[in-house]
């Protein structure tokens, strides 16, 4: 198009470009700042730091000084691993059961399973605490795992359903018409094809569990402390610079895991679909 660039078009490029740049700056800078701050030699959150040291990482890894943080991190990983495991099994089965059905009941069930994504998490956390207390179950890591499973399973259901909807039903039919049993077809045809979708969902569920606050806030106790809750406590009381070191580790871990998931299952492509 040989149309001359009008003032409107130039202003468009300028305004949209500038705001988009601002958006990237807003997204990225706080993360970079926290990583830099975690190496400060100062006792406060002053930025930029006046000098650098590894003291906060040393304190964080020191067994006697940071025992509670270590225990909280251990609990967090255990809960995330187990709630994701249960979520993957139940969520994949549910997606297999509902994805190909066009019935109203199936669509209602599907929205029901996805509803924890939009319901206020804090209302569910309180409801779960009252429920378990009033039916007489004492707080334990098992309850936290159950609560996390409910709020993270939607990620598995969503990505697995998306993978199933792209699956050619003819593959299934031809496998079964060649004499393969239903279970053999599931194991050798369907599951390998939808595996990347399940893996992406499992990863998102795992990360959501590590990150979860509203459920842990109500279901965890001093004995079953979780990392985000402990960090919240550390922020509310004295501003402990070890939080910056924990953040540095979490940022690095999330970055590496995300690279891995991107290479293996194309994570971001699945999140866009």
């Amino acid at each position: 198009m040989g149309r001359r660039q009008s003032f409107a078009d130039i202003s468009y490029g300028f305004v949209i470009g500038a705001i988009a740049l601002l958006a990237v700056v807003i997204i990225v800078t706080p993360v970079i700042i926290v990583v830099i701050l975690s190496f400060t030699d100062h006792q406060s959150l002053k930025f930029p730091p006046t000098g650098f040291s590894l003291q906060w990482y040393q304190q964080l890894f020191d067994e006697s000084q940071s025992r509670q943080i270590h225990r909280a991190a251990g609990n967090t990983l255990e809960v995330a691993a187990l709630s994701t495991l249960f979520g993957v099994v139940l969520g994949t089965l549910a997606a297999l059961g509902l994805a190909r059905s066009r019935s109203v009941a199936a669509r209602v069930a599907d929205s029901f399973f996805l509803s924890p994504l939009v319901l206020p998490g804090i209302a569910f956390g309180l409801a779960a605490l009252m429920y378990f207390t009033l039916i007489g179950i004492r707080p334990s890591l098992g309850l936290v795992i159950a609560g996390h499973m409910i709020v993270t399973v939607p990620f598995v259901v969503r990505t697995t359903t998306a993978s199933l909807s792209q699956l050619d039903p003819a593959l299934n039919d031809s496998s079964q018409s060649l004499g393969a049993s239903w279970f053999y077809t599931l194991r050798r045809v369907t599951l390998p094809l939808i595996f990347p979708g399940i893996a992406a969902g499992a990863f998102l569920a795992f990360m959501a569990s590590v990150d979860n606050v509203p459920v842990s806030l109500f279901l965890s106790t001093a004995r079953t402390d979780m990392l985000p809750i402990r960090m919240w406590g550390m922020m509310e009381a004295t501003l402990d610079v070890r939080i910056a070191a924990i953040s540095g580790i979490l940022i690095t871990a999330a970055f590496l895991l995300m690279l891995l998931m991107e290479w293996t299952v194309g994570l971001t492509r699945r999140m866009r679909d």
């Binding site: 009008s6 409107a8 078009d9 468009y12 305004v15 705001i19 988009a20 601002l22 958006a23 800078t29 706080p30 993360v31 700042i33 701050l37 406060s44 959150l45 002053k46 930025f47 139940l90 297999l96 509902l98 069930a109 029901f112 399973f113 994504l117 939009v118 319901l119 206020p120 804090i122 209302a123 569910f124 309180l126 009252m130 429920y131 009033l134 159950a146 499973m149 409910i150 259901v157 049993s181 239903w182 990360m207 990150d211 606050v213 509203p214 109500f218 985000p228 919240w232 922020m235 501003l239 910056a244 953040s247 979490l250 940022i251 970055f255 995300m258 991107e262 994570l267 866009r272 679909d273």
Partner: protein, 280 residues
């Protein structure tokens, strides 16, 4: 072939888990709200009357919903242009940008909230920068203000806006934009008459997720907002885990649930109408 279950039966285990661990607790929450005392022994409407008889609680509801609206508005204003730029990039740059967008989503909300304490604090990045440049002579108070909270929430919730927006925008036929330009429309006009209407389903999906997430974001609200800015999640936490008045906390939770869900229902109704207008 004997093993073949009816397909819907595969959803039963998760259905049972949801019925016993999700639906039942919410029904119980509803039940508990109809007790007058915190020992949960005397049934009655006392807590409902106490909650809705006090104008302070209407203000808390309004503030919570307004916080959601402001966060949604900020993420749209800052995020929409980024989505516009995204769809014009080549595949390689798109992969880099989507990585940058998704990355914060996988970072703990506590970490993101902490990052904003560092940025907005008295000795934080913004104050250091502005003092250094001589724009201000005293550090600005940004933490424990609604402005600081909305700025932080904009970054914290941005990925939830961008992901659905980008996925819908990427599917807009590029020819439509070219046709609009060929017919003499400026790029602004093409934006508002072609792209915005076509991206409406993604925009509404993004608004919905950001609204749901920001109204229940307890950690960011309590850490950045502080104790002077009171929103429903803080009230729920105080009443249930500090004061131990469960029936009152239950009423507050239901107020949060109903007010957030009604906004979401309205948004998704708009979304379906927008989708129908384009496809039908």
């Amino acid at each position: 072939m004997t093993l073949k279950p009816a397909e819907w039966q595969l959803a039963l285990p998760l259905g049972l888990a949801f019925a016993s661990l999700f639906l039942a607790p919410f029904l119980l929450l509803f039940g508990v709200s109809f007790f007058n005392d915190d020992q949960i022994t005397q049934p009655g409407f006392g807590q409902w009357i106490k909650f809705f008889g006090d104008p302070f609680h209407y203000k808390v509801i309004a503030d919570t919903l307004l916080l959601g609206v402001k966060t949604v508005a900020a993420t749209v204003i800052v995020g929409y242009p980024l989505a516009l730029v995204f769809i014009d990039l080549g595949p390689r740059l798109q992969r880099v940008l989507i990585f940058i967008i998704v990355m914060p989503l996988l970072l703990s909300v506590v970490v993101r909230t902490f990052a904003w304490i560092v940025v907005l604090g008295r000795e934080g990045v913004i104050n250091t920068l502005l003092l250094h440049l001589g724009v201000i002579s005293e550090p600005l108070r940004l933490l424990q203000t609604e402005l600081g909270l909305v700025i932080s929430m904009t970054q914290i919730e941005m990925p939830l806006m961008l992901l659905p927006l980008i996925s819908v925008m990427s599917r807009i036929e590029p020819n439509l934009r070219d046709a609009s330009a060929a017919l003499g429309a400026s790029r602004w006009r093409t934006l508002f008459t072609v792209i915005v209407p076509l991206s409406m389903p993604g925009l509404i999906a993004g608004c919905l997720l950001v609204f749901a997430s920001s109204t229940t974001a307890f950690i960011s609200q309590s850490i950045i907002g502080g104790v002077r800015l009171i929103y429903l999640p803080l009230l729920i936490w105080q009443q249930s885990l500090v004061v131990f008045n469960w029936p009152f906390a239950a009423v507050t939770s239901l107020a949060l649930l109903v007010s957030v869900l009604s906004v979401i229902a309205a948004l998704s109704y708009l979304g379906r109408r927008a989708g129908g207008a384009i496809h039908g």
